[in-house]
């Protein structure tokens, strides 16, 4: 059975592809540069729609394991020096949180040895029956 209605992620993917494949080559200078920025924004929105919930859960779970409700609490405790005797552990948790979140914005920024921590977009398989998994084709 074929699909006929795009998901939110698929719409924003179409927007990003349009910016990248039509607007960028059809413009020059500043406008072309801005189209690239806009295409990156669209790709980020798509990743956040698909991966954002899992990223947010992992983030919150790791903070909870460290004994904190949110980034505000953790930041305050770091600032007050309350975590000076367990900084290694705090750096490790913060690294995982930072890398996963950065993976939504700019996965290529992450060094190869940390790349395994990034959440991956599910492979797109438009031919598969019953598939409504939004994915990244580019």
């Amino acid at each position: 059975m074929a699909r006929g209605v795009p998901s939110t992620a698929e719409l924003v993917d179409a927007l990003g592809t349009f910016l990248e494949q039509d607007v960028m080559p059809g413009t020059e200078g500043r406008l072309s540069f801005m189209a690239r920025v806009a295409a990156n924004v669209a790709a980020t929105v798509e990743r956040e729609i698909v991966l954002g919930p899992a990223q947010a859960r992992g983030h919150a779970d790791r903070l909870a394991a460290l004994g904190f409700r949110d980034d505000d609490e953790l930041a305050q405790a770091i600032r007050a020096g309350e975590l000076d005797d367990r900084l290694e552990e705090v750096v490790e948790v913060t690294r995982r949180n930072v890398v996963e979140r950065l993976g939504l914005w700019n996965p290529r920024y992450v060094e190869p040895e940390d790349a395994g921590l990034i959440l991956q977009m599910p492979a797109r398989d438009p031919g598969a029956p019953e598939s409504n998994t939004p994915g990244k084709g580019r």
Binding site: D71, L74, D84, T94, N97
Partner: protein
């Protein structure tokens, strides 16, 4: 990008400024065009045409008109450029400057246009710069030693900011809290170095503010942030990961190695570089640029300027958080 009516008025005002500064009453201003639309400074290019058709390409840097300004930053910038020239630092020749709104509706600097490239990715990748690239790091060291030898008495209105205190204040200005940037701040506080005698520091010496030709660095630009401080700040800032433009394995601006930078600096200054101090300033610069990204994005978020570019820069805070953690892991260099 150039609005017609205001630029015609500006051309006429510029004509008077250049005619007087160059003692050329017959000056004409042609090809006036805006180069950048920065929120802090405007940059314009134009040609002054003198009697006998002699052309002189010039650059105008001007504060945005009708914006409240604190202090006399333009006089500081102008006197810094002149002092730098006397110290042997390559800078564009200063033609005229104004510290008030009288001549051009805002404080300004007019200087010679210098041919060359400032776009970091081109400097790092274009064939044109293949020969000069391996020499840039050592040249940066030599030039920074010259900057730090500038007599502070020759620059008007120099301040000596409390760098860490200002960074703390900037971080606290924003609602969002960042455990990663706080970890960076904690490390900076706990490892705060003893800083020696304050020198004139450029304050924004990085790939992007260096005008590069196929042969050499032709000019150091953007003296807006010149101040008194630890000279190692300029070296660390130049090496910070955020100014390597994707070539992270070449710590000096994406074009060179620490050894070349330090050799050039030590040769001209006669002083040893402390690599630990440079690293402290690299981490400082990463936290600083993390906050800088928020500052940029806040212009969009506040509704002052609508810009997808500024909005996107706000997410680059996350890149800076990652850089800070790499430094804390000893993986930043």
């Amino acid at each position: 990008m150039v609005a017609t009516a205001p630029s015609e008025q500006l051309a006429e005002q510029l004509r008077a400024v250049v005619a007087e500064a160059c003692s050329e009453p017959e000056t004409e201003v042609r090809n006036l065009r805006r180069l950048t639309g920065g929120a802090s400074r405007e940059t314009w290019a134009f040609d002054a045409v003198f009697a006998g058709d002699a052309e002189r390409p010039l650059i105008l840097r001007r504060d945005p008109p009708k914006v409240a300004r604190a202090g006399d930053a333009m006089r500081r910038e102008a006197t810094a450029i002149e002092a730098a020239a006397r110290a042997g630092v390559p800078v564009p020749k200063l033609i005229a400057h104004g510290s008030d709104d009288a001549a051009l509706d805002a404080p300004f600097i007019v200087m010679d246009f210098v041919e060359g490239e400032t776009v970091p990715r081109r400097i790092l990748r274009d064939e044109t710069y293949a020969d000069v690239r391996p020499r840039l790091a050592e040249r940066c060291g030599e030039i920074l030693a010259q900057v730090h030898a500038i007599d502070p008495g020759e620059v008007e209105g120099l301040e000596t900011p409390d760098s860490l205190g200002q960074l703390r204040g900037a971080l606290d200005f924003f609602e969002e809290s960042s455990p990663a940037l706080e970890l960076g701040m904690r490390w900076l506080e706990q490892n705060r170095p003893d800083i020696g005698a304050a020198r004139v520091v450029h304050g924004d010496f990085r790939n992007g503010n260096l005008l590069v030709g196929p042969d050499d660095i032709r000019a150091v630009l953007d003296w807006e942030l010149v101040r008194l401080g630890d000279p190692m700040e300029d070296l660390g800032y130049l090496c910070a990961r955020c100014w390597r433009f994707g070539v992270v394995e070449r710590p000096v601006g994406g074009f060179g190695d620490y050894a070349d930078l330090f050799r050039g600096y030590e040769k001209v200054s006669g002083q040893r570089v402390d690599p630990e101090l440079v690293r402290w300033w690299e981490l400082f610069s990463s936290v600083w640029w993390g906050v800088g990204c928020m500052v940029q994005a806040s212009q969009h978020l506040s509704g002052n300027v609508h810009s997808i570019e500024l909005a996107a820069i706000g997410r680059r805070v996350w890149e800076q958080e990652y850089d800070v953690l790499l430094y804390l892991d000893g993986r930043g260099g």
